[in-house]
Amino acid sequence: MLELGFEPLWQSTGLANFMWGQALMMGVGALLIYLAIVKKFEPLLLLPIGFGAILSNIPLAGIGGSEGLLGHIYHVGIETGVFPLLIFMGVGALTDFAALIAMPWTLLLGAAAQFGIFVTLIGALALNFIPGFDFTLADASAIAIIGGADGPTAIFLASKLAPDLLGAIAVAAYSYMALVPIIQPPIMRLLTTDAERRVEMQQLRHVSKLEKILFPFAVLLLCVIFLPSAAPLIGMLTFGNLLRESGVVERLSHAAQNEIINIVTIFLGLAVGSKLSADKFLTLDTLGILALGAFAFCIGTAAGVMMGKIMHRVTGGKVNPLIGAAGVSAVPMAARVVNKVGLETNHHNFLLMHAMGPNVAGVIGSAVAAGVLLALVGGQ
């Protein structure tokens, strides 16, 4: 017979089983939701992540546990790497690479901006000199990829190299992507002269349908030859883009751009949030990761702009160095920032389209960097 009395009942309440860590993590989740709704910080990701953090920290419910809803989703979608790859397919289907195809050399800006990743990697290892930090090479690599300013890439790499840090890394990646309008402009102004920022760039040439169809194959081919470890990311990105550009599979392109990416985004966010547990997140590591993330964005931006200045020289002033800042990706925010800063000095200077080149190049660049880290560190 069911035991009378309120004891078992009280034992089943949240209050009786409360722990500080969980309360604080719910606060963190609420903060992320606040940033998403009120400050428009990447709401598509930070809102589900924040809510996932709240749900998975509810005492007794075990929603984030192996038997819970979010645990199931994490196991199926993130441990396997399926979700970030499907998002990458959607990104490919949503991205028009015309600007990049018209200005192939802007790929070098996307390359330079990845400098932020590798400097951050060293920074993360250097943190080990501070007592309390003990990042392995794998941890440092996963943290460094924040500098790629590309959410799915960061989640994909972190899930392979440092699952324990996944929550903090994803939160840092998306938070700083949302902060691009704050982080980049000062650096851009600091490193460029008024004259350089004033440069107007010539209009982009027309890109043919055939070029757009061949482009994904060119990217994939190089990936196959040089860096198979980047193939899952590059492969799904180019597949999505081919669905878009082929023009013969409208139904599938539409599904990749809408149903699939929307559904996966909800589940990805909730599952990432379920990794925001007190014992994993409320650590010194997280502070280090937040600091390193900001650092990574700054270095990446600076490196992109410097490469922009070099191109400015080489091309005899045809290139506006500002567009180098878009090389960190953070599509399309970084490109918009470039356009905004450009307009400050020259009210007739619209750099948006020119910035889209390095912007999407940055996506490929950080996927390549992720491939390198997987190949050299993942094996260890």
Binding site: L9, K40, F41, I182, L284
Partner: protein, 86 residues
């Protein structure tokens, strides 16, 4: 177990169950009244209201503030947590 005991358990369940349902929803009534009052106050101060209604892309001002908040709050949380556990 014998049906009588089952029934007793059932009655027990009913008492506890309806009790919780009522307590839960009654407290929720209070919570909602408080919430509405809060919302009204906030809305009057326009603070959040504007941000909410403004569909303009994030204003730098607001965000520098925010970013401070973000790091600040999380740091605070971590300090407090660690102070408890270590």
């Amino acid at each position: 177990m014998p049906i009588e005991d089952l029934l007793l358990s059932g009655i027990n369940l009913m008492l506890i169950g309806m009790g919780i349902v009522f307590v839960f929803l009654f407290v929720l009534v209070l919570a909602m009244k408080g919430m509405s009052r809060l919302a009204l106050a906030v809305t009057e101060r326009q603070g959040v209201a504007e941000t909410l209604s403004s569909h303009a892309s994030v204003s730098g001002q607001g965000q520098t503030g925010m970013r401070g908040d973000l790091v600040a709050v999380i740091s605070a949380a971590i300090k407090q947590y660690r102070s408890i556990h270590h």
